[in-house]
Subunit: 512 residues, 4 copies
């Protein structure tokens, strides 16, 4: 998405990660803090605002959090202090809650039974009402973050009581009772980690295992249709060092882990040194509702090498490009993209259309968001600071430029101008997703309806405004089919995706 480079508008919520040392493995071998740190680097694309890790060493919780990239927040000194045999981590881009250290996660609180630490990806669709309920009880909330609300809901003793110590399933049910979506959580108590997905499965969450010697990174989900399969097959495995939970499986090869299992919507998975165990699935309040996994995780947020629902995100994007070439063909000499996210869609378009793929822009990776604002004349050069035209590749030619999405639409124009000044004969824009028309209240920071260009201009009007020779979107059906056709889950599992930002159909009713 060209829009992203200077707008920061369609941002990913967060990444969560957890690591629990397997039984019989020493702290040095499991190396929990380093493993989480590397795991968070593998989720860095989900949020660059802050990062945090909390580990659990007997009765002590060790915590370090800071603003900025994982590699800025954690150095050797910080990691050495994070002792323990389990821990959770978080990398954040704020959707709710202002950008301050106090809002950094994981949140740690002291409760009557033990410390607990909570890391959250998602956004509460009914945040205001659950927050008010807590305040009315006489509680002071110290942050503006949804995630503190979730933490206090989990801390609150469940209405049913806890005759024999903390009953986390009851507490999580109490949370689900108050708010249905969206959240993928990792929750650490003094004994274990709980990995929880909301009843609609709006945000991703998966389980992996880290073996001493890794012989293969291929996900073999079919071998692990349920967590009891995992348990039953463990004897035939190499020695397991630790059990992992992560927002995305792309973080697994970087730590030598393999993907075992995708947490089901509403499922509570408990990670202990003995391994993962499913504590059951909490269905949505409206039990007939389908899952509502965010379709934009496929389109844009997730890293291309992650696996969701049994397929690789790259493949889903490539199929979107193929479908786009079918729905919106064009005569041209060159297919290309704006570096870097839409390459799979562009290669898919090229494959289907037979028009050769070539690069038309180099990207200067040293131009960052914090770059100083120069004089007016130079500021107007806009995208030129970031992209250099490979003019000999397209001079005098017709170019199809494939992108993954359009948000505000104010970057695509300068790109087209740059290509034309550098000699392109025609520039045709093809977007591998439908027009973005509705705000998201579940973890994606989409601008207001007024700011979304698709609410203001038809494709033809937009083409004219940005100087494109044509501009076409993928249809909603085309996108949904391109994505769902690759899913390889076992048959009994329901399939469903949230397309609220495209269609306005939200998985649960909006409250104000």
């Amino acid at each position: 998405m060209a829009d992203k480079y200077d707008e920061r508008k369609l941002q990913k919520a967060c990444g969560v990660f957890a690591c629990v040392t397997a039984e019989g493995i020493s702290e040095a071998d499991a190396d929990v803090a380093n493993t989480i740190c590397l795991g968070l680097v593998g989720l860095q694309h989900r949020g660059q605002e802050s990062a945090g890790i909390v580990t659990n060493c007997g009765n002590e919780f060790y915590s370090h959090k800071g603003m900025g990239l994982v590699s800025n927040v954690f150095g050797e000194v910080e990691l050495k202090k994070l002792k323990g045999n389990m821990g959770i981590g978080h990398t954040r881009y704020s959707t709710a809650g202002s950008s301050e250290l106090i809002n950094c996660q994981p949140f740690v609180v002291d409760t009557i039974y033990s410390h607990i630490a909570v890391a959250h990806n998602g956004e509460l669709i009914n945040a205001k009402s659950v927050r008010d309920k807590l305040l009315r009880q006489g509680m002071g909330l110290s942050t503006s973050s949804d995630s503190e609300v979730i933490t206090q809901l989990l801390t609150a003793r469940p209405p049913c009581g806890e005759p024999e110590g903390p009953d986390w399933v009851a507490r999580i049910k109490y949370l689900t009772n108050q708010t249905q979506c969206s959240y993928s959580l990792v929750i650490m108590t003094k004994d274990c980690v709980y990995a929880v997905r909301d009843p609609y499965g709006n945000r991703p969450l998966c389980i992996g295992m880290l073996k001493r010697t890794c012989s293969s990174y291929s996900p073999q989900l079919k071998r692990f249709n349920s967590l009891s399969d995992v348990q039953s097959r463990l004897h035939s495995q190499d020695e397991v060092l630790s059990w992992i939970a992560s927002s995305e499986s792309c973080s697994f090869p970087s730590i030598g882990a393999v993907l075992m299992y995708e947490v089901n919507p509403g499922e509570i998975v408990q990670l202990t040194p003995k391994g993962p165990k499913s504590l059951g699935i909490i269905p949505p309040a409206k039990t007939d509702d389908l899952p509502a996994f965010c379709i934009f995780e496929y389109v844009y947020f997730a890293r291309a090498d992650s696996m969701f629902e049994g397929q690789m995100v790259y493949s889903a994007r490539q199929r979107s490009g193929i479908q786009l070439a079918i729905e919106a063909p064009v005569e041209a000499e060159v297919v290309s993209t704006i570096p870097e996210s839409a390459t799979p869609a562009a290669l898919g378009f090229s494959l289907q259309s037979g028009i050769p793929y070539i690069e038309v822009l180099t990207k200067n990776r040293y131009v960052g968001r914090t770059f100083i604002q120069p004089s007016n004349r130079l500021r107007k050069l806009g995208v030129n600071k970031k992209f250099g035209p490979l003019s000999e590749n397209f001079r005098g030619k017709r170019v199809v430029l494939v992108d993954d999405s359009i948000v505000r639409g104010n970057t695509i124009g300068p790109i087209i101008k740059l290509l034309k000044q550098a000699g392109a004969k025609e520039v045709h824009i093809r977007i591998a997703s439908p027009p973005l028309k509705y705000p998201c209240y579940m973890g994606v920071n989409i601008p207001t309806r007024e700011e979304l260009i698709a609410n203001k201009l038809s494709p033809e009007e937009l083409a004219s405004q940005v100087g494109a020779d044509s501009l076409m979107y993928l249809s909603v059906e085309g996108l949904v089919n391109a994505i769902q056709s690759g899913i390889t889950l076992q048959k009994e599992r329901k399939i469903g995706h949230c397309t609220a930002c495209l269609t306005g159909k939200y998985p649960v009713e909006l409250e104000w």
Copy 2:
């Protein structure tokens, strides 16, 4: 080149940049410091160790230098202090001289006539002997940098004397007399900037102009065979704001400038507010010697969108890939590359061979060189921290992996292992340049002969060591032809490239 990501071994020397405000243009319109700063960001790939800018405001020189990236060294505050109507800048990776602030360029010295500032790309092939000559004269040298030696040679009054004030052509001739290569220089006096290329043209240098309204970024070198053409055609142009010199033309679109002219080997170009003017060409001492423009600028150093000798670097790389497919064909289902530098060669290989191009690895751009070193187990994961396998794109398939060069050869093995663990059936390595066998003494930090893997192992032995199913290099002739066949200089100009690192034939005799 896969080797680069964690080795920093085949590094680029430096980038130089200059900007001189055109006659009649206000300081605010020309915006010299910001222009140089953005220009240096466009040359950042040539050196990330330090950056510096010196501007000239009447009799005052303003200077700011610092360690790190251009965007770290320069903020609004620093740039505001850099007043003046002309300036020069430098971005550095050390080839000679240790990594300290004192070695940062541009060097500024006070001389009997005025301050002068010097920025240098290259390395003196006879550095030791010219340095000793200065020391024997009783001069104390305060840095270990070649560039200080060059600065003092330029400062020294020429043997012929200077009856009427400073005679810069005589001083530059004196420098050329002492050392023949390699250097591309921008030299600022109180009156103007000199852009100078050594007699062998070993490092690149070109001239551009920055107009108030830019209507086209296409280089039109044919219109400007000589700088007198530039002068004669100016009346028909838009208003010129400033004149630019730069190591590479890729920095031009980012500031709204266009490429006008490539400085000839041995040429002295003077930039004044009236425009650029050639003050003549100093031939090499051995007048029959051909130019020796570094062939690795094409293979690896330069940015793909730069123009050298009338051709785009990307095109030269693509032709290398085509030639490689002719010289070293292989049966496979997939052609790919290690992100990011060898993509044009891989697309060239795909075009020639008909094997489809697809990505096999994602690159985590948040993994940098300064990243902390985790535990042993995690450290062994090596490339996995940086690259994620797109396994569904190559599971069960034969992969051709095209790279631009191999230096030490210790990264390619882990990449192959990663691909095979993720399901690749075969991995065939194809290198779009010949084996690197000899050190460079002219600005490229190539390891010693003992460290270069091509001096230790035959291609077959290397293939076996790294686990490749086959491994082949491009031939020297193949590379030279692929590059020279695209050159579009006017006929009278001699063409020649330095292939010393491949053949051991250095342009001038080595002195020890």
Copy 3:
């Protein structure tokens, strides 16, 4: 106290400060954030670990906190963001709660009625039991700080209910019900600031006013026996810009304010734009108990120019020195002190004894706590790094060295050794306070009983261990008389001081 320079052991708890703009004064004239910032610099001696300011601008609270000195935490940029017509600030040295940003004050929480911000000086003597009570209610506490407990106790709706909106007097009474000491608090709601001292008055708190034109800094407490006096005399005053609450009056001249009133033990003073108003005094649960104002505020913590109970701290210290000379005379040629805190006691000793005062040590103020630890040999030089002997002032002479207190006793020895090596004939130690024998649980970080040297060695034994020719302490009665003889409060007010660290008599029963 010599002990302090490298031990950080007898530390001051915290400083609190508040500023409320007077009616009719513009935000620019009152300049709340800058006033608080300067005020906190004037309280910096009470805590150097972190600093924070929260301001109130309508319904928005603005907050900035950070680790380190006030001048490091607050710059122009930070202060500009702190808009509003009232605010509170805090400077901290941790007594309870670890040293992390999360524990920095003021605490801000959202409550059902508004944000509130709380800054606290003191330590809860029954911290554990009140904390447990909150946890048992199902509340998660996110810090280890007493002050969060206080904040949540204030947030909790009082048992009597609040039929007409928040009832702060009831809430503060509820707090007092739970915990009796020690706390001096400033509490900001959306409407006003409350300044509260615990029923024993263990920590200081006073009220000032800031006039546009300040003509005199002399405290004239006699004019303001009660806050209603203040109100009644305001018409005859210069224009008041703002109302101030502060831990110590020494911060007043630095902002141009004058001391008006000392908050009584148990008193709640409300600061609104109309001025300060007493909302009544809450007596201790045991109503016959005397106040227990910390006697070490006089001995060591407070700045010498602060006024407590109608007297200047400097004068009380000088009288301690006079009393010390009476109780523990010695024949000598020179009276001196270890720079800097015991100078008034040393001058008092000199005055009484007739032995001339002179300096015997210079202090290198560039030697700080964070200074690197050099080699073993150099580390052993200890106090020599910090103090230089003025040897000509005492060579061959008998020196009386007056200090304010001894904690661990491991610094006085090296000082004596330094003086003797530099030529002192005899060194007699005189301590202007009694032996420290008991820990403090009310805000002073005194080491455990085992670490307090006075529990291990008699004065004679200590003298022998540290190499002193004699060593004597002031008696408890001597100290109490020296201090109480200067008090000029109106007669009806009870007088009492906490001497728990000297006598083991704590103002309230200890709970474990």
Copy 4:
């Protein structure tokens, strides 16, 4: 001097330091870098702008320099890298040369024989002409610093030639030939350190030794009238670890060293592992000229515990105060000073006059130069931010306020106002030095004549302007006598002090 706290106008030039490991001592025992670092902390009062250390390890010189205090520039990591058996250090306040890292000392240059490193305290009175001479020779100078000029003069091969390797005495004589004052230098070659004082002895320099076990810090200069005495007595000493040179002896106790010898004006002392050795004394060009040791080193610059010419600086200051009480008596109840530098003079005044000494102001040591500038109203509070009135000590009393000097005179007024607002009946200013009327060109950054208040107002006019009830200076004769009467050098040595800033009589003719 009250002027200093917010003006930075009468600044000290620099401090130099050297350490050479004694024969047979291991690198770990001598600990050169740490010793120099601590030594520089002991000279920190002479300059806070930058600090640097260069060590010599065989043929390698290791260097680290940075802006700021010694403790900011040097941490454990930096010091570990500074290996070697000898080294020199520098702490700087710029007198000539702008405030940039490039001007930091020590300067290191490569010469034909070896690296040399140079650290300089002082300022060349004929800087411009010697600089021009170097430039005319065709040398480029890279800094604006005098000290680079000195370095290049030392690097230049002496006119007499060096038939047998470097002849440092000849080179230093060549330097002396070019410029007579002022400089105290430590020069490190690959073999040894030279400690050199200019022929007028304008800046201080002394030699010490560091023994494994230090039993006494008393300087015993009488035992060491010459360096050959030192050598002859060494056998009877404890084991010597290293030999030291330092600007002031106050740095010695902090490293466990003792003062042995004060370098004579014009003397060259060579420090080798075998010990210090005098290589002779170079007299001034006008051989009858007396020494011209800066009298302000006594009045203000030096630390009170330093020894010059056989006396302690504190004693000289105390005698100035005694003399001041004789010359300018006044009736009063209290003698005091502005913290901190003039305490010895104030105690001297009290001793002579019989008026008791007491403190009238506390100093807030947390108010630094970098403190943010608050609003106008608060800025006007000026000195109040820094000083708190101890009003009970002087209410209704007449105060004599003794200060060491007056430069611009714009701080004393606010102090007087503060004291009067806090209740002082009268304030009489007594200055323990004569009026400052002339600029210094030898290392002290005194403002221009126009800015010096003593050139604009008579003492009576100044008293009236600042609100003092009287204001009197010490006479020139009074100051010179007070200082010279304490000198205990052996009789044959000439005594003389530079009083140029008071009298306009410069030691050598001024050149422009």
